[in-house]
């Protein structure tokens, strides 16, 4: 059974979570050789944002635009999905990049987490 690697600290500190990321602040994460496997690298991860009764809708939309670089329409669609359905998959891809996104989203106090796709 393949063991999913732990978070790699070297992949995490590339962007100030409060200042957020514009996509350009994320550098290529450094893989930790003792834990990465081919299966891990192939496995996509989902970044999920959950509904929160406090965060303003405009706030969530702006955070999605800042973190992922989405245009307003895309960000609003995802925000509405969070609002109406309680959660939305806002990004899918490599785990280390997904971790960075969750860090940035949590830096803006959004309820966000990872899940294997």
């Amino acid at each position: 059974m393949t063991r999913i690697p732990h978070f790699s600290p070297s992949a995490i500190s590339t962007a100030d979570p409060v200042r957020g990321g514009d996509g350009g602040t994320i550098t290529a994460p450094v893989k930790s050789p003792e834990t990465d496997t081919d299966a891990d690298l192939d496995q996509p991860w989902k970044v999920i944002v959950y509904n929160d009764p406090v965060n303003l809708m405009s706030f969530v939309t702006l955070v999605l635009r800042k973190v992922f670089g989405y245009n307003e329409e895309r960000a609003q669609t995802l925000m509405m999905e969070v609002h109406m359905k309680g959660r939305s998959i806002v990004w899918t891809g490599a785990r280390e990049k997904a971790e960075l996104y969750v860090q940035q989203l949590q830096g803006f106090q959004l309820l966000a987490a990872l899940k294997r796709a």
């Binding site: 995490i12 100030d16 406090v54 800042k66 990872l114």
Partner: protein, 183 residues
């Protein structure tokens, strides 16, 4: 209270009433979650979906707490420092104009508060965090958490709701200002 855009993309609040300025000065306390484990949990949630494998989740949470949460906490501290420095730099001024029916004391000092363009992110973070902490501490919004039958709505909750709404208005202004810089 009036608002002007600054050339650097920031915002200037003119004639901010002292009462509101004093409330903003309480932001460090408003954002403080140390005494309430539920608030602390909300501000530092698990990085893994609840449906994820429990073992994987536990490992991820342990690593997150060791490597990521300290960075998030440090970023919050930096943001708070920026906000408090902006507040400390606010200049007191007497209001130039007051509407004739205003209840404000014309002799009470008002403040001119500048939020530079490169501080908007920090204000965005701090104001939102204050709203989250207040919402959990005072069970806001009141419309979704009305008093039980026979229970009186406390003044403390009412004040908290009012302040939370005021911070939400500022956040909306920040969102508009910050959206201008995005593609």
């Amino acid at each position: 209270m009036d608002l002007l855009p600054l050339e650097d993309g920031g915002l200037r609040f003119l004639e901010m009433p002292k009462g509101f300025y004093d409330q903003l000065a309480q932001l460090p306390e408003l954002c403080d979650a140390d005494d309430d484990p539920l608030v602390a949990e909300r501000l530092a949630p698990s990085p893994m979906d609840p449906e994820e494998d429990p073992k994987l989740r536990a490992e991820a949470e342990e690593d997150w707490e060791s490597f990521v949460q300290p960075e998030l906490d440090a970023a919050h501290d930096r943001a708070m420092q920026v906000v408090m420095e902006d507040l400390a730099a606010a200049k007191p001024s007497l209001p130039e104009t007051l509407e004739s029916e205003s209840q404000e004391d014309p002799e009470e000092p008002h403040f001119r508060l500048d939020i530079p363009g490169d501080h908007l992110d920090q204000w965005f973070h701090v104001l939102n965090r204050a709203r989250i902490v207040m919402a959990m501490t005072h069970r806001l919004p009141i419309s979704e958490n009305p008093p039980d039958e026979g229970e009186q709505l406390s003044l403390q909750r009412l004040f908290a709701a009012h302040l939370s709404d005021s911070l939400a208005h500022i956040l909306e202004l920040l969102v508009v200002q910050m959206s201008r810089d995005l593609p």
